[in-house]
């Protein structure tokens, strides 16, 4: 799966979770850029990504993420090893 496809799917997830249909996510987007991105929203993003890409994340992997781009990379890495 390409980074572009992953980004598109993740953008739809973010738009749904934050209920912002026009929200634009970039690789550099992080929690500080979205006012409603709290701990519960974070869990919802992770669970939605797990379901969308049929992968699972370990807590240690998630703690190392600094922005959305890091998550794209982690997802792509997991998919390539699936």
């Amino acid at each position: 799966m390409t980074q572009e496809t992953i980004a598109q799917i993740m953008q739809d997830i973010f738009r749904d979770i934050f209920d912002q249909p026009s929200l634009v996510i970039t690789r550099e987007t992080s929690a500080k850029d979205i006012e409603d991105w709290d701990s519960l929203s974070h869990v919802n993003i992770v669970v939605a990504a797990e379901k969308a890409f049929k992968v699972t994340f370990a807590l240690g992997e998630l703690k190392s993420l600094n922005n959305v781009g890091d998550m794209y990379d982690l997802i792509q890495k997991k998919l390539s090893h699936a």
């Binding site: 669970v47 699972t56 370990a58 807590l59 992997e61």
Partner: protein
Amino acid sequence: MREFKYEDLSLGQSEEFSVVLTKEMMDLFLRISGDTNPLHVDAVYAKSKGFKDQVAYGMLVASFYSQLVGVYLPGRFCLLHGIETSFHKPAFITDTLHVSGEITYLNAAYRQIEIKASIRNQSEDIISKAKIKAGTLE
């Protein structure tokens, strides 16, 4: 009270219990919520609108989802994250409600579970459905 920790939980695991809706519950919910809508407090009005009696508060019925997760699944170590609920048929005083839930997803990283839940009456009619997200403290 169940004391399931995250490690004790698995996909498809389920719990259920039954409860009888009482007039006292309705009166207490009226005091707590301040919802004086006549559909819930005036039997004559409710009957004039086609119901057999005063209609139980939907949120009173849904409050049993709190017991489902807080007492049964996962029980003691529950931290409720959210509930999406819908109401499909009215419930009435003296109805016996069967509350059930089944785990449909587990997230190990954050120890969150998702539960598909429903409430049926004594005739097996679905009164309410819910999708519940709950964390486990242990």
